[in-house]
């Protein structure tokens, strides 16, 4: 009786007489829809805010890494000091160490300051010389050894300023912190201000950040991404060369040729599982197989590339198979119907139509591989590498670094200058990723066809 009453009542009162007034159920449904939309907007807004925050923090910290403070010093390369034998032979000149060059630069700086009449206050010449990065001596030495003809001439040498001085112009170091810092002093910062006023010191664009190798813990100002970028490029090359053909061939076989039975089902499930395996596991695999069993040298691009290729394979196979599946069967029928063989059908029709999907999958897979850190740590790529690897193919066997590992490495160092370096490296990595993803989108748009 009661149930009957209720339904009767609901039916009676629930439905509005006029179309202009929403009845109860409609109003409730509309309210639910509005609530759901609001949740969506909130979620998207939060996501965008988080992204903006992330980008702002990375860029504000990282962009200064692309600028560096230099002291422009006219250095006279005294042949009597740098080439005691006097033959202009780089092998003999190499006996003069960076200490010798350091003294030369220090003297040149003092002389220039004196010549311009800049007041150094109570600072000793040794303190003034400390404003120059220790890396400068090595840079000058390499310059001279590479080109012995410079001997005897006077060159305008842009010496890197010490990391603390550089930090002062980037706002990282202040007079207050300098007073507590035994690596610098307020007097040095004051002198730096006067050098800037005199036009000797300048903070300017530093492409060396992209080309120079890593530097030691005390010299953040000289640390660059050269070896890491090169190592990453080598590894991406290996991944592309290995994972793309193997991945595409495997997908084509599984999708177009393999019989559908329990074995192929098992393989399919396992490929999906492999794509979800934590990347560090691939690192252990690489360590066991390529280094311990295969005897390949540690921290080299070849091992890194092999490990990343293994990791990327399932990530290429899955989208490639999806792209192959998406090609309508009518195209296969059409090709088979005019007497094309299975392979011709695939090569002439199915694969070209699946290509946008394959390329997108490959580039996204490469982008993931580019950002992968964990497996590289296990195969020793976290080592401090200062020497550029040689050109491929032999260079693939040289120790190298990689962008994400370099970032990881820099975030662990003591000197605050490396915070800026790490963020700068993140910007470089992001730029690479954005370029790759854009390429994926462009390729997809360009080759997308309708049927």
């Amino acid at each position: 009786m009661t149930t009957l009453d209720m339904t009767g009542e609901n039916a009676g009162t629930g439905r509005s007489k006029s179309l202009f007034t929403a009845d109860k159920r409609t109003a409730a449904r509309n309210a639910a829809e509005r609530r759901f939309r609001a949740y969506g907007v909130v979620a998207i807004t939060l996501a965008i805010l988080a992204l903006v925050w992330l980008l702002i923090s990375i860029f504000s910290t990282g962009l200064p890494a692309f600028k560096q403070t230099f002291i422009d010093i006219p250095v006279t390369l005294d042949a009597a000091v740098l080439d005691k034998a006097g033959h202009g032979n780089p092998d003999e000149m190499a006996s003069v160490s960076t200490i010798g060059y350091g003294k030369l630069i220090a003297k040149a700086l003092s002389a220039e300051i004196a010549a311009r009449g800049i007041d150094t206050g109570k600072m000793k010449p040794r303190d003034v010389a400390e404003m120059i990065s220790e890396e400068s001596a090595a840079t000058l030495r390499n310059m001279v050894l590479a080109n012995p003809k410079l001997l005897g001439s006077t060159i305008q040498f842009p010496a890197l300023a010490n990391g603390r001085i550089d930090g002062y112009f980037k706002g990282r170091v202040t007079m207050a912190t300098a007073a507590l810092d035994k690596n610098t002093s307020p007097e040095k910062l004051a002198l730096a201000d006067r050098l800037v006023a005199a036009g000797m010191m300048q903070t300017r664009l530093n492409l060396g950040f992209l080309t120079m190798p890593d530097a030691s813990d005390q010299r953040p100002e000289a640390a660059g991404l050269g070896v890491a970028i090169l190592g990453s490029l080598y590894m991406m090359f290996i991944v592309l060369v290995l994972a793309l053909p193997i991945g595409v061939a495997a997908s084509v076989y599984l999708e177009e040729f393999a019989p559908k039975n329990r074995w192929t089902d098992l393989i399919e499930v396992n490929i999906s599982n492999l794509a979800a395996v934590p990347s560090i596991v691939y690192g252990i695999l690489g360590l066991a197989i390529f280094i311990n069993f295969g005897g390949l040298p540690r921290s080299t691009a070849i091992v890194g590339g092999l490990v990343l290729a293994l990791m990327t394979l399932p990530r290429i196979i899955i989208p490639t198979r999806a792209a192959l599946k998406a090609v309508p069967p009518s195209i296969r029928d059409a090709a088979l119907g005019v007497g094309a063989s299975r392979l011709q059908t695939v090569m002439h029709h199915v694969l070209p139509l699946a290509m946008p999907g394959v390329l997108t999958g490959t580039i996204i897979g490469l982008a993931q591989a580019l950002g992968e850190t964990a497996p590289l740590l296990l195969i020793g790529m976290v080592a401090f590498v200062r020497d550029f690897p040689k050109a491929p193919p032999m260079g693939l066997l040289d120790p190298a670094s990689a962008l994400p590992v370099q970032i990881f490495n820099w975030t662990q160092r003591g000197d605050p200058g490396f915070v800026e370096r790490a963020s700068g490296a993140i910007i470089v990595l992001l730029v690479f990723l954005i370029v790759m993803n854009t390429a994926a989108i462009i390729l997809r748009r360009k080759y997308e066809r309708r049927w």
Binding site: S330, A334, G337, G339, H349, R449
Partner: protein, 264 residues
């Protein structure tokens, strides 16, 4: 190019394809039961019957397109000019060059009109140079009554044509490999009446050169284009004979029920 049809003496009423005791299973489903058919040369043969009666299945047996279905199993004997097409020595690829097929939905390759037609001759090496290929493409497009509409835009994509044009392009593609038999699986079901009329007219013209087998749902179409008609029902070949006889004086009550619209 060697034109096969010029060398062949014009025989009529000879058996092109003979099928004896054909059984088809899809897994455990017995889709086609004991079908015997003789398909004549230079004749349009229509297969009619309600959906799921096995007419398309039988058509796909004739050029071994059923090979691509993993669960399909074909028994019995089908011969093309006396040669068993299911003989292990037969390469289905070669067979399909001799027995062309046009599908229900127009399925041109997403390539240019020219490439669509040229594809078959190219992969079978039927032409020696570009000039010969051009000639084949033109003659096939002419035979398919499409040449005048597309001669100025041969490089345009085949998928950009209208539905009827696409289907005629598919017919041109199928005849470009100089087949001896042309199988058509409901070629007009996706077309409007005008395009249908064009394709039907085309089928009638093609009869002079090929043996045409057409599967159709439309009995009017079967009556219009075919000389011989086979009626399939529930996997059986119920009746096979002259189209006129089937439609005016069917022997089997099931055929009569179907053509008068009581079953199907």
């Amino acid at each position: 190019m060697k034109d096969l049809r010029l060398e062949r003496d014009v025989r009529t009423e000879t058996n092109k394809i003979e099928a004896r005791g054909v059984q088809v299973y899809y897994g455990t489903n017995h889709a086609l039961k004991d079908v015997d058919v003789d398909i004549l040369d230079k004749t349009v043969t229509a297969f009619i019957g309600p959906s799921g009666c096995g007419k398309s299945t039988f058509l796909r047996c004739l050029n071994r397109m059923n090979d691509t279905v993993a669960s399909a199993k074909v028994q019995g004997k089908i011969t093309l000019e006396g040669e068993d097409i299911y003989d292990p020595r037969v390469d289905p690829v070669q067979l399909r060059a001799k027995i062309g097929m046009v599908f229900q939905k127009p399925n041109p390759f997403p390539k240019s009109i020219y490439d669509n037609v040229a594809y078959g001759p190219k992969i079978h090496g039927l032409t020696r140079n570009k000039a010969e290929l051009d000639e084949v493409v033109e003659s096939c497009l002419r035979k398919a009554a499409l040449w005048n509409e597309v001669k100025d835009r041969l490089t345009a994509p085949g998928t950009g044509l209208s539905g009827g044009q696409q289907q005629r392009l598919c017919i041109a593609r199928a005849i470009a490999t100089s087949p001896e038999v042309l199988l058509m699986d409901e070629p007009c079901s996706a077309l409007d009446p005008i395009a249908t009329a064009q394709v039907e007219e085309l089928i009638d013209e093609l009869r002079s050169q090929f043996s045409v087998v057409i599967v159709t749902h439309s009995m009017q179409q079967a009556a219009r284009v075919s000389q011989k008609t086979a009626f399939f029902h529930l996997g059986h070949l119920v009746e096979y004979g002259e189209t006129g006889t089937i439609f005016t004086n069917p022997k089997d009550p099931r055929t009569e029920s179907y053509i008068t619209g009581r079953i199907g």
